[in-house]
């Protein structure tokens, strides 16, 4: 298979984020870089996107490199003239670095969560980011070698167990600053002593908590919280500067925890790995839906949730009236997800949003609670219910984030009814602008690509593609459609039925014949569940195959996808994130009970059935993506994500 276009450079992926093109790849950066830089995959960042990508990194890298420059990057960083003071300083900062880094990346990745949480308006954002940049400098101005410092650090700590926050420790960053800021272009905001101290301590507390928690997931959200806690405790510190460290720390821990809880509600939790037994157990205890884990799971996909199908629905139905806090509209939609009555990205998203709208309408703030917080918490619980019914699609994640953002941004001066109606209007606008209008624009664009005499190949059943076909047909264009379908869902049948009813000339075939029919095809139209920022198209399983065959036959592949389905995640395969369907579905033919050739075999332990729902089509196979912002090559997806995402969140 020869590529018609030159294959796209792979490393462009890394250019997307916050790296200046001229920053020399410092060896130390990789060290100070977070080990889990991709850990919050769902997190999304209006703020980070709103910042020009050039702005954050330069001071950091420069100072980083500067700090690293005089020193050899030896693992033992004790080369300073005054080892004791350095050590003390380093010790303090070592903690800082160690504990801070994940936070930094988390901030960089997902400041949206922090925003949603504090409800800071846009104006305060700059302040927040100043603070952030400053702390970033604090961290990066240190020798990155301190990572290997733990033995020394422990001795240092043993030397002065009680005086961890002695003046030396505090003045240390001050001393260092003159070295670093000479090159840093950012004007440094003035931190008061108390503020700085508070920051350090909170970070230390966070680290202790992280250690106690033992999971990095504990650490990550908490550190986001510290930024805010700094502000909070600042006043407290001024009042009682003499408070013993341990007391203060524990106090802070308590404070952080409550905040962290809030935070966690907003921030999309790191995707659960379902091969982690203890976590699965925990989640099970929490879950509403009683799920029995499937026994025979394919080894490679153990990390994905897979449950015994069949029992869930009955179980959930029987609990219908017992779950008090669940709104009936939510319950209905959840049941429909679970039963498979609703499928397809747009429909699921609309159904969910309409259910939320119903919730908001029937919502009344309980006493002693505020609407934004309580409603957000409620919606989070509903979302987790939906997730239990069926894993959320990325488009739904985007919509949820939008909704939460709108709720958080509600002005506190609004009355309850006003805020409710404003949320409802927002939801309506989201549906209209992001889905309905977007679809119209896509249809306009895409049908301009349909010419007389075309033979169009479509796969599965995508509602946008269907609209494109119908619209082109209404325009009087003469074309033929080949509907390619695949087992076990056979979604193409419904599409075929509707197309034929409208008088479109159709051919129906299964995916095994795709290479045969591809000879006559002139264009391939495909839908997508999501388009990722490296141009990968995440779509119904089989799409990649169709796209690959089309590419081999030099047939243009046109993806129709609304921009609200774009996601900044980068995914290279369809293994790490996917959805597993009912494995029994592949062995059975619907409506034919007598066709059960796999029945006797599937009971033996050697056969494991795998029913993947999605796959990832590499950008190489995609000629064009039609979205509401126009027709773009797959390489331009990050631009859309970056430039319009903020816009999209604020609508």
């Amino acid at each position: 298979m020869d590529a018609r276009r030159g294959s796209l450079p792979v490393p462009r992926v890394r250019q997307v984020g916050f790296f200046t093109p001229n920053a020399q790849p410092a060896p130390t950066r990789s060290q100070s870089g977070p080990p889990d830089s991709s850990s919050p995959p769902l997190s999304d960042s209006p703020a980070s996107n709103s910042l020009s990508p050039v702005m954050i990194p330069p001071p950091r890298h420069h100072s980083d490199n500067l700090a690293a420059a005089p020193r050899p990057t030896s693992p033992l960083p004790v080369p300073e003239p005054s080892p004791f003071r350095r050590r003390g300083a380093d010790n303090n900062n070592a903690l800082l670095v160690g504990s801070y880094n994940p936070a930094e990346t988390l901030l960089a990745m997902s400041p949206s969560s922090s925003h949603v949480g504090d409800g800071e308006s846009e104006e305060t954002m700059s302040g927040g980011w100043f603070r952030r940049s400053n702390s970033g400098k604090l961290a990066s101005s240190l020798p990155s070698g301190t990572f290997d410092f733990s033995p020394v650090q422990s001795t240092a700590e043993a030397l002065k167990p009680n005086k961890v926050q002695n003046p030396v420790g505090i003045s240390a960053p001050k001393e260092q600053q003159p070295e670093a800021p000479s090159s840093s272009k950012q004007p440094k905001p003035k931190l008061t002593k108390a503020e700085r101290r508070a920051l350090q301590e909170s970070q230390r507390a966070a680290k202790a908590a992280a250690k106690a928690g033992g999971g990095k997931s504990v650490a990550a959200p908490e550190e986001v919280a510290t930024i805010k806690s700094v502000k909070q405790h600042q006043t407290q510190k001024k009042d009682a500067p003499q408070v013993a460290v341990s007391v203060a720390a524990s106090e802070r821990k308590g404070g952080d925890k409550s905040q962290e809880k809030e935070r966690r509600k907003d921030a999309p939790a790191p995707r659960m790995q379902f091969d982690d037994k203890s976590r699965v157990e925990k989640a099970k205890r929490r879950s509403v839906v009683d799920q029995t884990e499937a026994k025979k799971r394919v080894e490679l996909f153990r990390h994905l949730p897979q449950y015994e199908h069949g029992t869930q629905l009955a179980d959930l139905e029987s609990k219908f009236l017992q779950l008090d806090p669940m709104h009936p509209a939510i319950y209905k939609v959840g049941l429909q997800y679970l039963a498979g009555d609703i499928s397809g990205g747009n429909a699921r998203c609309i159904a969910m949003l309409q259910a939320f709208q119903q919730v908001v309408k029937d919502y009344s703030t309980p006493p002693e609670k505020t609407l934004p917080r309580d409603l957000t918490a409620k919606i989070s619980s509903y979302v987790s219910f939906f997730t239990q019914c069926r894993p959320l699609s990325m488009s739904m994640g985007n919509a949820i984030r939008f909704l939460k953002n709108r709720i958080a941004k509600l002005s506190p001066s609004l009355s309850e009814s006003e805020s409710k109606s404003s949320i409802c209007t927002d939801i309506d606008r989201f549906i209209n602008e992001k889905i309905v209008l977007a679809d119209r624009v896509i249809v306009q664009h895409a049908s301009s690509k349909v010419k007389d005499g075309d033979v169009l190949l479509v796969y599965g059943s995508s509602c946008v593609v269907e609209m494109v076909l119908l619209h082109s047909h209404e325009l009087g264009k003469q074309f033929r459609v080949i509907v390619v379908d695949s087992r076990p869902k056979l979604e193409g049948k419904a599409l075929l039925r509707r197309l034929v009813a409208k008088g479109v000339h159709c051919t129906y075939t299964h995916i095994n014949a795709v290479s045969y029919v591809m000879h006559e095809v002139t264009k391939v139209f495909l839908g997508a569940s999501s388009v990722l920022s490296n141009g990968t198209v995440y779509s119904r399983v089989g799409t990649a195959c169709v796209a690959m065959v089309a590419h081999a036959f030099r047939v243009p592949v046109i993806i129709c996808c609304e921009a609200y389905k774009f996601h900044e995640r980068v995914q290279l395969d369809s293994i790490c994130s996917n959805e597993l369907g009912d494995p029994d579905a592949i062995g059975k033919v619907p409506g034919r009970m007598d066709v059960n050739y796999l029945n006797d075999v599937s009971n033996s332990g050697n056969l494991q059935l795998l029913n993947l729902m999605y796959d990832a089509t590499p950008a190489d196979y995609v000629s064009m993506i039609v979205t509401d912002y126009g027709m773009i090559p797959p390489t331009s997806v990050p631009v859309i994500v970056r430039e319009y995402r903020r816009d999209h969140l604020l609508i």
Binding site: E317, L321, Q322, L335, N346, A347, R429, V436, D439
Partner: protein, 461 residues
């Protein structure tokens, strides 16, 4: 969850004479020493349905039922007891209280249902399909005493078997045809239109209607209003709704649409249409929608509504107390195989003997038995698979097998009671032999008499 519950408790049912009387209306008939209505109420309470309307036939009965409910569930349930005249039928009873109904959906439960199927399951199925009516179907219970050798079983076999014929779609979610056993003589008439629309119908004769329905309120009220001669839910309303599901005569007034799309003012019509189109295309079309879409083009646009069925799984217990046979079956099962329903804790011998009950020497109470409080038993008695109520006085050498003995019964020495039901305040003198009998309340069986398969009751004055 926006469900209103109506419990149709019934009154003095004719089928259960002589068990029921003016004093003991059907809802208060004891099953394992608890009124049968309590089984339904507790099941509803488990499902968080605490606002109930209990409809009782007859003023007296309503007073008694109301008195019992207010005593037993005083702070647990919020129950309204409504009395309707006798012989109005289930539909008539609902018609009488129709103006009390306000919620979107109504759950109608028969008061004589002894079941552990959660009503929520029916409600959920109803909501999920947005159906007009959802009915619970359960497998027909195997009636007759457990011992196949007994004479009772042979009698039953001789009776002509009547099946309830129920037609379901291949997914077993929609009700396509229903005919109760009494109506089916020799032939069935199934409209061709429904077969054409669905393509395949499964006809089952092993299911029975459990009298647990979820109705859309608007539809129910409309049907009851428009068809004043409808007498029974099961025989009139449900078959009517099932029959007309493809050519719906009910003017739904666009109720479901209007209610759901209250936010129309924000969205233009066109957008609304697109949204509903997207939603409709995403879901796998049921035959209703397909049928509608096929006929949409024609001048006579057909409207459809959905009738769903929820089939209780076989592991669940679900029986209606609507015959004397069912009464003894339920009593047997509730202290036997379905003993989780009774709410009592069983002893090591798998029976319940109230601590205040007094047993004579050499008296044995076997498994699956129940002995109410304050009952006295003489020497050398033997009780097997039976329920004995409160404050009974039982002499010596009495044998009770497969029977139900209610409260305040006096049994003389040397009696033998098999497969019988003895109501409250009955006096049975010495050496009476009863087999498959029903003794009405307050009756006196004279000494030494022998009865087999009889129904004895006091003459009504």
């Amino acid at each position: 969850m926006d469900f209103q519950v109506v419990v149709l408790a019934g009154g003095t049912s004719k089928e259960l004479v002589p068990l029921v009387s003016k004093e003991v209306p059907k809802p208060l008939l004891p099953v394992a020493n608890r009124p049968v209505l309590s089984y339904v109420l507790e099941q509803l309470e488990l499902s968080n349905l605490k606002d109930l309307i209990v409809v009782v036939e007859g003023e007296d009965a309503a007073l008694r039922v109301g008195g019992w409910i207010s005593g037993a569930y005083v702070d647990r349930l919020h129950v309204e007891v409504a009395a309707v005249p006798e012989d109005v039928g289930t539909a008539g009873a609902l018609r009488a209280i129709a103006h009390h109904l306000t919620a979107n959906d109504i759950l109608v439960v028969s008061g004589d249902l002894v079941s552990d199927v959660p009503p929520g399951a029916v409600a959920a199925a109803h909501r999920r399909h947005d159906a007009v009516v959802t009915t619970m179907l359960c497998s027909t219970p195997i009636s007759g005493p457990a011992e196949s050798g007994s004479a009772g079983a042979k009698d039953k076999i001789k009776k002509p078997k009547r099946f309830n014929i129920i037609g379901l779609d291949p997914t077993k979610q929609f009700l396509l045809y229903i005919a109760s056993g009494a109506e089916v003589e020799k032939d069935l008439h199934i409209p061709k239109s429904i077969l054409r629309a669905v393509g395949q119908m499964d006809i089952q004769a092993d299911l029975m209607d459990a009298h647990l329905y979820a109705f859309k309120r608007a539809v129910l009220q409309e049907v009851l209003e428009q068809k004043p001669n409808f007498h029974s839910l099961r025989q009139d309303v449900l078959p009517y709704l099932v029959r007309t599901q493809l050519k719906s005569e009910i003017l739904l007034n666009g109720t479901p649409q209007a209610e759901e799309n209250g936010h129309e003012k924000f969205t233009s019509r066109g957008n609304q249409a697109i949204i509903s189109q997207i939603l409709a295309n995403a879901s796998t079309p049921r035959f209703h929608e397909v049928y509608e879409s096929i006929h949409n083009g024609s001048p006579t646009a057909q409207r459809t509504h959905k009738c769903c069925a929820y089939i209780a799984s076989n592991s669940k217990y679900c029986v209606r107390l609507n015959s004397i046979q069912a009464f003894s079956d339920i009593n047997r099962d509730v202290i036997g195989e379905a003993n989780h329903l009774s709410g009592y804790s069983f002893s090591a011998h798998n029976n319940i003997i109230h601590p205040s009950a007094d047993l004579g020497s050499k008296t044995t109470v076997g498994p699956h038995c129940m002995l109410g409080e304050g009952s006295l038993m003489g020497d050398k008695c033997s009780v097997k698979r039976s329920v004995i109520g409160r404050h009974c006085r039982i002499g010596s050498n009495v044998k009770i097998v497969n029977s139900v003995v209610m409260d305040h019964v006096t049994l003389g020495d040397g009696c033998s009671i098999q497969g019988s039901i003895v109501c409250s305040n009955v006096q049975i003198q010495e050496r009476v032999v009863l087999r498959d009998c029903q003794i009405g309340a307050g009756f006196v069986v004279s000494a030494g008499s022998e009865h087999k398969g009889e129904s004895l009751a006091r003459k009504e004055k």
